[in-house]
């Protein structure tokens, strides 16, 4: 070595500073002799993951970003547990509290932030902490063992993460917030309210519009007094009202300080050879507290130190992506409407989804996503780029199918600079991903994830990673052959053919013989194999209850709170006063919270406890309406010629006959029928799987309709003259569907896939129809009413009750 390396010291061993060093080592591994000094007794760890540690989702080891081995492998001198007390800028020397003196040529300040403690009396008491580092996390864990009541002051990002962690630790947690709604810096009011609802459902409590006045207690905290005179008890108070840049050292060293350490676009402070990066730095008036901007700053600084060209740092448009107890929240840019902006909103309270785009002069300037943040990365990228979105607004709001994204995304990605962060969770840049594809030979998203961790955390950037894979690998990009699920690469037809060829008879056998990758399958393949085996071997196969979904296992629809709903069968939607009285009496007796007419002309008793189901079925003494299964649901009817002035045929009679013929039939998907007594089609038969419409002197038979996810009108299959022919064609059609369609494929999708003509052809010959009719009748003859069966079989009935009351040993 002839060139003497320059000495570089980094003060602060956290995410931003070490990130800059990592980048520098890639650009100029030989340029510097590096020393890092950090106050905490740990190597560089991921502060963002502290909430996961608190929640028990990660161990301390798992959140270490650079272990000690990394430091030594680059010959970095590391002082942990040391705090730099002063910098002699003239002598270019730093001094630590433990007596270490080190000289530098270049110096980076990455001193981060300190939690902001409210200036109120009592903050020095035991049990008052912040939520900033590993030590705080450990205190919370200890306190939760001994005490129960926690207050978190601050309803922002950090406060909610802390509160969620404390909830996981079993504490009673209330969040104190000065504003009317939580996370007001990241969310608009509507999203904030939805978030609060979700969090309250998980047990978090909120004290809103409360200004903290004083912390009460002698040695240890006892409570918190508010400005309005009210008080809340607390064994632990976590302050999470904000952070402030840690500038003490910079200020005492004569470096220009405003709120943070003032830096220019190259992260240079007011003194030459001294740089600042991360939360302690203030760039164009802004001190950032989020990871992505800090990584961007680190990349600029690394280039500067390596002597590589850089355009400098121009500030960041920030986005927030938060996952609080499974609730995804995202916001970016200017998400509150201002004069001159327009907003598009989508709010779906059934699914808990809310989306808002804020647009100004045809450009996307802000977005809020709640409950479904998959498009976050893409929208964020558009906000940053300031691209014109005229004509695509609705498409963006409602999501774009991945295949439609491929080309414009490619163009957008191509123009993106190499140091732009693609994965904000793990700080992976476009350049890094490009490198592992072009030089590292990654050909799938899975491999990129394994190499770089991009898309490994929240997954929000997966579309961008996919786009980059397309861009750099092109033809070489591997799309793994898709089987019916992740456990196999075989498709439906291959599986059914193999079952027939080898006469496989159980789900386990199929998985074993056809080399399933998961020994016991998954909720996609298990029910489908169960269906195929039952369809192929109706007489021999014993249905596997444990391979059915919850609804079908318990013969009721599970609701969001774990209760169930009961829908008795009401043939053709025709009931009687006696039957109604019976249903009402049962509903009263079992305290049913909601009684509702379904869309299929029957009554739904909702909110039933699982243990009450068998008793209710017994007392109702009605057959199951199968409102929960991939089977015949209802046959909707109009009044028909029984009462109607226009009715040309007996729709009620035909509906009841069809429903009695096909009830309990297992099918690939749910099957809905309808019968209309005249062409006015009041039963809406033309959006059903099998629709029957009366005409003068006959019936039109319609197939493949759907009024659900993708509305599809039926195709006319044929016109028949007699009632018996309706039954014959319905039987043949349904059996052909049972034998040909994939599990979970409704008739509408199936017809789209195979074409109406192929179905017409298959049902053309009377012999073929007769064979199909015979097969469906065989299958139907073997079915029993599930409710009755459970009521009369203790072995089945036991599963509806809690296991016997425990006794202490």
């Amino acid at each position: 070595m002839t060139v003497k390396r320059k000495k570089l010291i980094l003060i602060g061993n956290g995410m931003a500073g070490v990130r800059a060093i990592e980048h520098l080592l890639k650009l100029a591994p030989e340029a510097y002799e590096i020393t890092i000094v950090g106050t905490e007794p740990y190597p560089n760890y991921n502060r963002i993951m502290l909430s996961s540690v608190l929640a028990g989702g990660a161990s301390l080891d798992e959140i270490i970003i650079n272990d000690l081995e990394w430091y030594s492998s680059f010959n970095i001198t590391l002082y942990t547990g040391h705090t730099v007390t002063s910098i002699d800028t003239a002598a270019r020397t730093v001094y630590t509290d433990k007596g270490v003196t080190a000289a530098y040529d270049e110096l980076i300040l990455a001193t981060g932030s300190n939690p902001f403690m409210l200036p109120i009396p009592g903050t020095e008491k035991e049990g008052v902490i912040a939520f900033r580092d590993i030590k705080d996390t450990q205190i919370m864990q200890d306190v939760s063992q001994k005490y129960s009541k926690a207050l978190v002051i601050g309803g922002g990002l950090l406060g909610l993460e802390a509160a969620r962690g404390l909830l996981h630790l079993g504490m009673d947690v209330s969040v104190v917030h000065i504003h009317e709604y939580i996370m007001e810096r990241q969310l608009d009011e509507a999203a904030s309210r939805m978030l609060r609802g979700e969090l309250e459902a998980q047990g978090m409590k909120f004290l809103l519009k409360k200004q903290s006045e004083a912390i009460l207690g002698k040695k240890r905290v006892k409570g918190l007094l508010f400005a309005d005179g009210e008080m809340a008890e607390a064994d632990l108070i976590v302050m999470a009202v904000g952070i402030k840049p840690n500038v003490m050292l910079a200020r005492s060293s004569g470096i220009e300080v405003n709120r943070g350490i003032v830096v220019n676009d190259y992260m240079e402070t007011s003194l030459s050879g001294i740089y600042a990066v991360g939360e302690c730095a203030e760039h164009r008036g802004i001190a950032y507290g989020l990871v992505a901007p800090l990584y961007e700053q680190g990349a600029v600084l690394a280039k500067r130190l390596a002597g590589a060209p850089t355009e400098g740092y121009a500030g960041s448009v920030t986005s927030t992506k938060l996952k609080v107890s499974g609730v995804d929240v995202f916001s970016a840019g200017q998400y509150i409407e201002q004069p001159g902006t327009k907003a598009l909103r989508f709010q779906d309270e059934t699914e808990g989804i809310y989306k808002k785009l804020v647009i100004q002069e045809d450009k996307l300037i802000g977005a809020v996503l709640f409950g479904d943040t998959n498009d976050g990365a893409q929208l964020f990228s558009m906000i940053k780029k300031g691209e014109n979105i005229k004509g695509r607004e609705k498409e963006l709001l409602l999501g774009i199918p991945a295949d439609a994204l491929a080309s414009p995304k490619g163009n957008r990605l191509e123009g993106m600079p190499d140091d732009e962060i693609i994965c904000g969770c793990n700080g992976v840049t476009k350049g890094t991903i490009a490198e592992v594809i072009t030089a590292g030979g990654c050909t799938s998203v899975g491999q990129i994830k394994a190499c770089t961790k991009a898309s490994a955390s929240c997954g929000g950037c997966k579309p961008l990673v996919e786009g980059l894979l397309q861009l750099y690998a092109g033809e070489a990009a591997v799309t793994v052959k898709e089987g019916i699920c992740g456990c196999t690469t075989l498709g439906r037809d291959e599986i059914v053919a193999e079952i027939k060829r080898m006469k496989l008879t159980t789900v386990k056998e199929v998985m074993h013989v056809l080399s399933w990758s998961n020994e016991e399958g998954c909720p996609k393949c298990r029910p489908s194999l169960n269906y195929y085996l039952g369809m192929l071997w109706p007489e021999e196969y014993v249905d596997e209850n444990e391979s059915r979904y919850t609804n079908e296992r318990y013969h009721a629809n599970i609701q969001k709170d774990g209760t169930y709903s009961v829908v008795p069968r009401i043939y053709g939607g025709v009931t009687s006063p006696a039957e109604l009285i019976k249903i009402a009496e049962v509903a009263v007796k079992y305290d049913v919270p909601l009684v509702k007419f379904t869309g299929g002309q029957r009554l739904d008793l909702l909110g039933v406890k699982k243990e009450d189901l068998p008793k209710m079925w017994e007392e109702l003494d009605m057959p199951s309406g199968h409102a929960y299964g991939k089977t015949l649901r209802t046959v909707k009817t109009c009044v028909g010629s029984t009462f109607c002035r226009f009715g040309t045929q007996d729709a009620l009679g035909m509906g009841i006959r069809l429903e009695k013929a096909f009830e309990r039939l297992n099918a690939p998907g749910k099957v809905k029928l309808a019968v209309s007594g005249c062409p006015r089609n009041c039963a809406e038969a033309t959006i059903k799987d099998f629709g029957v419409v009366a005409i003068d002197g006959g019936w039109e038979l319609h197939v493949g309709g759907n009024g659900g996810v993708h509305v599809r009108a039926t195709d006319l299959l044929c016109v028949v003259k007699t009632d018996d022919e309706v039954l014959e064609w319905a039987s043949a059609f349904l059996q052909y569907y049972r034998e040909q369609a994939g599990w979970n494929e409704r008739t509408a999708q199936w017809i789209e896939r195979v074409g109406l003509d192929s179905i017409k052809q298959a049902l053309e010959s009377p012999e073929e129809r007769a064979a199909l009719v015979e097969r469906i009748q065989k299958t139907l003859s073997l079915t029993t009413d599930p409710w009755k069966q459970i009521v009369n079989t203790p072995e089945l009935r036991k599963n509806f009750e809690a296991i016997s009351l425990p006794e202490t040993v």
Partner: protein, 103 residues
């Protein structure tokens, strides 16, 4: 830590589940194909789904609400989701079939 006698092995179907309440906690009990009996808190960390109602695949249960997968031995939520469910120790007396739960 208390040890409770909670029932007998033959009251839990293979690949099936039963639930019980101890104090304020609802616990789901699972019997795997391997013969093991495992217990976890009957609450998915995602949206509170009842794990006892989910499908058992190997030593994992899929939450019936949104298909989160939970490893029953450790209570760990499986990737890509994250989280943790409390687990409880279950002992089986193979001579009598008695099930004991420690809570």
């Amino acid at each position: 830590m208390t040890k409770l006698l909670i029932g007998n092995l033959n009251e839990v179907d293979i690949k099936g589940s039963r639930k019980l309440r101890v104090g304020d906690t609802e616990i789901a009990l699972f019997r795997l194909s391997s013969g093991e009996v495992l217990a976890v808190e009957n609450r998915c960390p995602h949206k509170g789904g009842l794990l006892s109602e989910g499908m058992v695949c190997g030593s994992k249960v899929h939450c019936p609400l949104h298909d989160w997968r939970i490893e029953l031995h450790t209570g760990e939520v499986q990737a890509p989701d994250t989280g943790h469910v409390t687990t409880y120790e279950v002992e089986v007396d193979h001579a009598t079939g008695s099930l004991y739960l420690t809570i």
